[in-house]
């Protein structure tokens, strides 16, 4: 029965991939390669989960890392095609042609509410990364996977995901500092929102975004530009490379990212959450050590809160390491409802198919497919064309 459900889910995902990747990619070779890779990844994840709860998490990691790397290849190549460099030109600034990314959303909302001005120099609609399209994506994800975006879709988070799995051993344990780190993230978030309102500019993008290094940046031909550059490089090296390697955690996502903090606050509106069965939990703290977002503390377990802290990104790492199978995905609004007993095989299959874990993984992966298709197919086309060029 479980196999049947896995096959059914994989077929449905294949349909999603076929439409969004292969058809939208004009049936190109790159689109077929990426489409088949996605179908394989999802099928492996679903079958692994049926076999051993939580074991599909490694396929999520692979997807996110691949998306992050190919996103940057595609994004940078588009910048070079349009501007000839990764540096932001004055023309792009004055014509509002700076691509708008999801991290800028929390900075834009409050100034827009108060003054009706959009403080980010991007197009409102029509551009592939316009403000309207990003806001629509944000709304859709808020009501479905919530902060699951950070661990399943975010094309920046994939860098940290990769670096945090380079080392075998954790050399720096931040578990005891989880609470302080969370407070800092929300403090930094409030600072970014208020400072953006005061300065009427996207303060995080101007001074503190580590991912400028792998996307676009202000030209370093002035002293302030140079200072900003040094900050971007320092933050990228420390929070995206070194600390994830040492701590095996996503340090930028859990300390500095304003969108992460914002998504944590709006996550209450999402359909899915992670719950801890306090009856089954033995208090081994493996989940707390494994959590890349520092969302499980000693207090979470000892006080039997029954759920991770606010910053949980639903990555599934805790589910994977829990030997008691005490952690699982659940529907947020029906968590306390009793499941009706299935009377026949059809009802049992239907119940298995509609399990929150299955639906969450399907929704999150679909989001990933839709977000990644054009970037990855674009990058693969570039790589294939380069290989063909050199082989001639």
């Amino acid at each position: 029965m479980a196999t049947l459900v896995s096959i059914l889910l994989s077929v449905l995902m294949a349909a999603v991939v076929f439409f969004y990747v292969i058809v939208m990619g004009n049936f190109s070779g790159a689109a077929w390669v990426y489409g088949l890779f996605l179908i394989y990844l999802f099928a492996r994840m679903t079958f692994a989960e049926q076999h051993n709860k939580g074991s599909g998490v490694k396929y999520r990691r692979i997807f996110q890392i691949v998306f992050a790397v190919f996103f940057c290849i595609s994004f940078i190549s588009r910048l070079f095609a349009e501007r000839g460099s990764m540096a932001i030109t004055s023309g792009a600034m004055t014509n509002s042609e700076i691509p708008f990314c999801h991290i800028a959303i929390p900075q834009v909302l409050l100034p827009f509410t108060i003054t009706r001005d959009i403080i980010f120099p991007a197009r409102v609609s029509g551009h592939y990364a316009s403000i309207a399209s990003m806001l629509c994506i944000w709304l859709a994800l808020t009501f479905t996977i919530g902060r699951g975006w950070c661990s399943w879709v975010c094309f920046y988070g994939g860098w940290e995901e990769g670096f945090s799995h380079i080392g075998k051993k954790r050399r720096l344990n931040l578990l005891a500092k989880n609470k302080e780190i969370r407070e800092f993230q929300f403090g930094f978030f409030a600072f970014i929102v208020l400072a953006s309102l005061g300065a009427m500019s996207a303060v995080y993008c101007e001074w503190f975004c580590p991912f400028k290094l792998v996307t676009e940046f202000s030209p370093m031909n002035t002293i302030p530009g140079l200072i900003a550059g040094v900050i971007f490089i320092g933050l990228f090296l420390s929070l995206v490379v070194v600390l994830p390697i040492l701590t095996k955690r996503r340090t930028q996502c859990s300390t500095l990212c304003p969108f992460g903090a914002f998504a944590s606050l709006t996550d209450k509106a999402s359909l899915f959450s992670v719950t801890i069965d306090t009856q089954k939990c033995k208090g081994c703290m493996k989940c707390a050590s494994a959590c890349p977002f520092g969302a499980i503390d000693t207090d979470t377990i000892q006080l039997k809160k029954g759920r991770p802290e606010l910053t949980c990104a639903k990555c599934g790492e805790c589910i994977h390491v829990c030997s008691e199978k005490a952690i699982s995905y659940s529907f947020r609004f029906t968590a306390h409802c009793k499941k009706p007993e299935a009377k026949n095989n059809f009802e049992r299959t239907l119940q298995l198919f509609l399990e929150p874990a299955q639906l969450f993984r399907f929704a999150a992966f679909s989001f990933g497919v839709i977000m990644s298709d054009s970037f990855v197919v674009d990058s693969l086309s570039i790589i294939f064309s380069q290989i063909t060029h050199f082989s001639k």
Binding site: F191, A195, I223
Partner: protein
């Protein structure tokens, strides 16, 4: 003074009060949320101190301009306004940082008595209010220009006071801060972090960097 002019002043303040929110919210929200003793009365008095100091700075600016013989109807120097803004950010950031390190750090503040004294909540509210008053925003300049049309000093004074009163409704939500901080204890700690970061941002990024390099 005619009623029409006073109503105009109120309407001008009320319609442009969002500018005040933009300049004051980053200072007042973290500061009021992070104060040690949180009560409705103390919160209201601190807000009042801040707003009073801001008004005093406007009168100081008015007095200085008139002493220099500058007519507001003829004189508006954007470079001077920008320069004053930079000083405002540095002064305000320094006040917030002194408060962070003097009164807020590690539960009770540091052991340095002078720092604790200069960084206490009342001094911070007054200094920050004076500093924010240095921002010459367009609505303020409009109010200054319109205030001279009253024909005499008293009417100009009242025009400006009514303009200022018109902006005050935007500060009413601040009176609810103790309601939140008493119920969600972690807000206080988060606000202190925000205040410190805002202080650093004001001093370095919108203060010293523009002062020396723009």
């Amino acid at each position: 003074m005619n009623l029409k002019l006073l109503l105009e002043a109120l309407a001008l303040g009320f319609s442009t009060g969002t500018y005040c929110t933009m300049y004051c919210a980053p200072v007042l929200i973290p500061f009021l949320c992070g104060t040690e003793k949180s009560s409705y009365k103390r919160n209201a008095l601190l807000t009042g101190t801040f707003l009073g100091s801001r008004l005093i700075m406007y009168f100081i600016l008015g007095a200085v301009f008139s002493a220099l013989g500058l007519l507001v109807t003829e004189f508006f120097d954007p470079v001077l306004a920008r320069r004053l803004s930079v000083y405002a950010y540095i002064l305000c950031g320094a006040a917030l940082l002194l408060n962070s390190f003097g009164a807020h750090s590690a539960h009770t503040g540091c052991n340095c008595v002078p720092l604790k004294r200069i960084g206490n909540d009342w001094v911070t509210a007054a200094l920050a209010g004076l500093a924010v008053g240095l921002h010459l925003c367009p609505p303020l300049w409009t109010a200054l220009v319109r205030s001279v049309f009253g024909g005499n000093g008293a009417s100009g004074f009242f025009y400006f006071i009514f303009f200022y009163i018109g902006t005050l409704p935007f500060f009413l939500p601040l009176f609810g801060i103790p309601f939140i901080t008493k119920r969600i204890a972690v807000v206080k700690q988060i606000a202190r972090i925000t205040q410190m970061l805002t202080g650093i941002y004001f001093v370095v990024f919108v203060g010293l960097i523009p002062l020396f390099f723009y």
